[in-house]
């Protein structure tokens, strides 16, 4: 039971990552819709969006420190 939900979260994570990248095979997409839970996708999606913003902030900081500002 527990294993199953971890597996589901893991698949949702892969699905969201594929969504960020913009490529997902039809078979995987169908499986997501059949077995996945909407809540997992929404929560993981929001977390990853926040993560992306933080990544960009650090990227900018790093670029500025490289150029000595």
């Amino acid at each position: 039971m527990r294993d199953n939900s971890i597996l589901r979260c893991w698949r949702a994570l892969l699905g969201v990552l594929a969504g960020f990248f913009g490529v997902r095979s039809e078979a995987a997409r169908e499986q997501d819709f059949k077995e996945g839970r909407a809540l997992h996708f929404v929560v993981i999606g929001l977390l990853m969006a926040a993560g992306f913003v933080i990544f960009v902030i650090f990227l900018v900081r790093w670029a500025l420190s490289l150029s000595g500002v």
Binding site: F21, G22, V23, S25, E26, A63, L64, S67
Partner: protein, 385 residues
């Protein structure tokens, strides 16, 4: 006949593209390499990105045309039906991503350079007005307005247009070369934008905000620009002229301007005849007031009132002086006390009271205006001293 002409047109078009590089240096369609380190790196960046785009265009259209030709119907080609191809999709996502990152690296380097106004040797405040620029040399006790100098006759097509039509001003922004200059941009009324292509500076001037930019000019010369933010009726009539001179010459210029300012103050003290005031007043009026109140004094009612026959121009002198010096807040009528000298103010007021059939016969003495300006300045300036 027609086809021959078409072929000729195409050939002459092609030969333009194939011109040797030297001839193309004169070609002004491209971005200007400019006269500063930043403007040159902006130019290089622009050319790098341009050639990347050309290469992408060649590859994409080349593959497309080749495919169309090679798989043409007459050779019995059949379309291959498939829904998805994950590998190809990944490739066409990763390749553009790589190209974008490769372009972001030089672009970021240039942007960082452009945004670093630290350690400047000279600070200039630039204020946008409807429709002129004001330049304040901070710590140099120098402050002036720069107005369009193109004659109205050229604008009205009554005279042939000059070489620098709508790109000439009465007072240049004189700057020293080989000096890091910080520009502080703001506006008095609406949003303007200070744009001089040769310096690669284009920055919005926003009321209530101060934007920073900087430049370091390598070559002496005259560099022209324009307001780049639609700011009303005369948006196209507020050009910018930067005059870059070697640092020693800049110091001489500063001294000369200060001497002129003192001479002007002395001139305000002498007594002026009505005729003298009228002659100078007409010049000032055409330069500073005619855009709104019109050369004939009839204005553009209801936006800009007529001064011909106006109760203000024919009535109490004090009220007339007051509106010209202090403007009318909330309307397009600005305060001219900082824009014009005491003599110019006296002359233009005299002119308005005696031109176009307004015949009060009254002359306003420059010294009278000086007294008013000094009186107000004492009370207004106390906090600043």
């Amino acid at each position: 006949m027609g086809t021959i002409r078409t072929i000729r047109t195409i050939i002459s078009g092609l030969s333009l593209v194939l011109l040797p590089f030297t001839a193309r240096a004169e070609w002004t369609v491209n971005l200007s390499p400019g006269v500063t380190e930043v403007s040159r790196s902006v130019y290089d960046l622009h050319m790098t990105i341009f050639w990347i785009c050309v290469a992408i265009g060649c590859v994409v259209f080349g593959v497309m045309f080749w495919s169309i030709f090679h798989h043409r119907k007459s050779k019995g080609a059949k379309a291959h039906h498939f829904h998805e191809h994950t590998l190809v999709e990944i490739a066409w996502t990763l390749v553009p991503l790589g190209i974008l990152v490769a372009m972001a690296v030089p672009a970021t380097a240039t942007l960082v350079k452009m945004y670093d106004p630290s350690e400047a040797d000279l600070d200039i405040q630039i204020t946008g007005y409807q429709w002129k620029w004001r330049y304040t040399y901070l710590d140099k006790d120098l402050d002036f307005f720069s107005n369009l100098a193109t004659p109205r006759e050229q604008i009205g097509n009554e005279e042939a247009k000059g070489d620098n039509y709508l790109l000439e001003v009465d007072r240049h922004l004189v700057l020293p070369t080989d000096t890091k200059i910080r520009l502080l941009l703001t506006a008095n009324d609406v949003i303007h934008s200070w744009w001089v292509p040769a310096l690669a500076v284009k920055k919005d001037a926003i009321p209530g905000f101060i934007n920073e930019a900087w430049t370091r000019i390598d070559e002496p010369g005259i560099y022209r620009g324009q307001c780049a933010e639609l700011c009303g009726q005369d948006h196209g009539f507020m050009p910018i002229v930067v005059e870059a001179v070697p640092p020693e010459q800049f110091q001489q210029w500063l001294a000369q301007v200060k001497a002129e300012k003192q001479a002007e103050a002395a001139a305000a003290e002498k007594s002026w005849t009505l005729d003298e005031l009228m002659t100078q007043g007409e010049q000032v009026y055409l330069r500073a007031c005619a855009a709104c109140h019109q050369p004939t004094g009839t204005g553009v009612p209801p936006a800009f009132p007529a001064l011909k026959g106006s109760p203000v121009a024919l009535g109490d002198v004090g009220a007339h002086i007051d509106i010209v010096l202090n403007g009318r807040p909330g309307t397009a009528m600005q305060a001219f006390r900082d824009q014009l000298s005491a003599t110019e103010l006296a002359a233009v007021i005299t002119y308005e009271r005696n031109a176009w059939g307004n015949s009060t016969g009254e002359a306003v003495a420059p010294s009278q205006i000086t007294r008013i300006l000094e009186g107000n300045a004492e009370t207004a300036g106390e906090g600043a001293q």
